[in-house]
């Protein structure tokens, strides 16, 4: 009995140490960025154009603007296609060899490194479709990268809808489409949107692919059309941290990082609110 109790304590502590370790790393990163980055954050930094000669005289507004546009572009491309694909795979597709191959491929695609998507985007969207290095090419490239994430998480969310709901709906004379529209989608929407926004916030933080297909370090104007080049926070941060000669560059890089993290945080807050609103009604 005593031995069992010691064992219990031992394993409990192992789990606790792992948890504390994770929190420590996350906390350290966050604190490092906040402490070193907050000094450069002010109204001008957030709202004015970039000044390449004297970085202390300009801001990162074009990079924020570019990243937001990119996020919107990715969302428009990947959320509808991703969710519809997931619905098809989990509700309509028959269980057979082909469907299983498609499912496995999608899961594998989710693990392909982003730089490979960048290369694909460069070859396909930039050159073959002749979109040039542009906002639209970057949105399409990152949209493709996000798709498997959105499909996988949406599939899981649809799978978690109890089958008894579908049966009840069918037994009341509803068609399959009515069942999907009125029961399956409303019950899984929270999970689908959570997965989608999570995927998009990860994609917005990507650097490697957008360097190849459209992001630029410095432009003196804001993008006005989808075929324009754009500035983006992660790439901006990368250049400041590694290439820029100004002595203030490091602080500005951390300030940019803080803005990027905040942007992700805002998106996650959005997820939280959506989940909360949808969960109120849906408990089973």
């Amino acid at each position: 009995m005593v031995k069992e109790k010691t064992k219990e304590k031992f394993y409990f502590n192992i789990f606790r140490i792992c948890m504390l370790f994770t929190i420590f790393i996350l906390g350290f990163i966050l604190l490092y960025v906040i402490i070193n980055g907050y000094k450069v954050i002010n109204f001008r930094f957030l709202t004015t154009m970039w000044n390449h000669q004297d970085i202390t005289q300009g801001g990162i507004f074009p990079a924020i603007f570019g990243s937001i546009l990119l996020g919107i572009g990715i969302s428009i491309i990947s959320i509808p296609i991703g969710i519809c694909t997931a619905i098809y795979i989990s509700e309509y597709a028959k269980e057979n060899y082909f469907t299983n191959m498609v499912k496995i491929s999608i899961r594998n695609l989710a693990g392909v490194p982003s730089v490979v998507y960048g290369l694909f985007g460069l070859a396909f969207f930039v050159f073959l479709l002749n979109l040039g290095t542009s906002l639209i090419a970057a949105s399409l490239t990152l949209g493709c990268m996000t798709l498997p994430w959105i499909i996988t998480s949406s599939e899981e969310s649809i799978k978690s809808v109890p089958n008894s709901f579908r049966e009840a709906s069918i037994a009341l004379g509803a068609t399959k489409w009515q069942t999907i529209k009125k029961v399956v989608v409303p019950s899984s929407l929270g999970g689908m949107l959570t997965g989608s926004i999570l995927g998009i916030s990860r994609a917005v933080g990507e650097t490697a692919p957008i360097i190849m297909v459209g992001a630029t370090f410095y432009i003196s104007y804001l993008p006005t059309s989808p075929t324009d080049k754009f500035m983006a926070l992660p790439y901006h941060l990368f250049i400041l941290a590694t290439q820029h000669s100004s002595p203030d560059a490091k602080a500005y890089a951390l300030g940019t990082a803080l803005v990027l993290i905040s942007l992700t945080f805002i998106m996650n807050l959005g997820i939280f609110i959506i989940r909360y609103k949808l969960r109120k009604k849906k408990e089973w």
Partner: protein, 250 residues
């Protein structure tokens, strides 16, 4: 009067034969109970009657089910029409994650009825038919999950009643409920049999005895005995039936 005729019905899940040569005449406006040990095929037989088994891709069916002079499997191109006439209630209460009102009006809305007044009227009528109106009339807009298990199951019956079915199939509707909730449902079923044909699968022999007019005893995919409930329980003709109702197995 006969409501459903089952002729030489055989059914397979994949390679496994679940129903073997079933022949039955289900009578109109009576409660017919289906009893038998787990895995005897009683739920499968029930699910053949509103074609819920269509959802299982590996299933195969032979023989005929005739309802209103129409073959259930061959003469209903639009199966949703059949399911509006033959409603179903499941083992576990399964209300939708919606309000009480939306639950009851679901079938009507699926049938394309949009008029709010008509929906309101039918929802109220249906809830009254199921003796649930007084319990929920003040909170039609709250979630169906706020109801107790027994109320949820009666809501599921109400939901089926709202589309005014001719036959109602119940698959062990009380197995997840306490005795008081069960008694309410039994009382409701006895009341409803004046208006419709009721077929109930039950694990509970006492329940079959209490509420049904006719009882079918099934074993290993076959109908062993089908007769008036009273005579089946008092004087079973078949030894297997006798063993089962005496609790020797099952």
């Amino acid at each position: 009067m006969v409501k459903i005729i089952i002729k030489n019905l055989k059914f397979w899940y994949g390679k496994k034969q679940v129903l073997d040569d079933i022949n039955l005449l289900i009578e109109n406006k009576k409660i017919t109970a289906l009893i038998g040990p787990s895995g005897c095929g009683k739920s499968t037989l029930l699910r053949c009657m509103n074609r819920m088994n269509d959802l299982i891709s590996s299933s195969k069916i032979e023989g005929n089910l005739i309802y209103n002079n129409k073959d259930i499997h061959k003469d209903y191109e639009d199966v949703s029409i059949l399911r509006k006439q033959i409603g179903m209630v499941f083992q576990k209460p399964n209300p939708f994650p919606m309000s009480i009102f939306e639950n009851v009006s679901y079938g009507l809305r699926a049938a394309g009825i949009k008029d709010k007044e008509i929906l309101k009227k039918i929802v109220e009528e249906s809830l009254k038919r199921a003796d649930l109106w007084d319990e929920v009339k003040d909170r039609l807009d709250s979630s169906a999950f706020s109801l107790s298990g027994g109320q949820q199951q009666r809501l599921c019956i109400t939901r089926a009643l709202a589309i005014n079915p001719d036959v109602i199939l119940l698959d062990e509707p009380c197995s997840a409920l306490d005795p008081i909730a069960t008694a309410k449902i039994e009382k409701l079923l006895i009341k409803l049999k004046d208006e419709m044909t009721i077929i109930i699968v039950t694990h509970n022999m006492h329940q079959a005895r209490r509420i049904s007019d006719k009882t079918i005893y099934m074993l290993d995919g076959k109908v062993i005995e089908y007769s008036e409930t009273k005579s089946l329980f008092v004087k079973p003709k078949n030894k297997l039936t006798k063993d089962y109702i005496n609790g020797e197995f099952g």
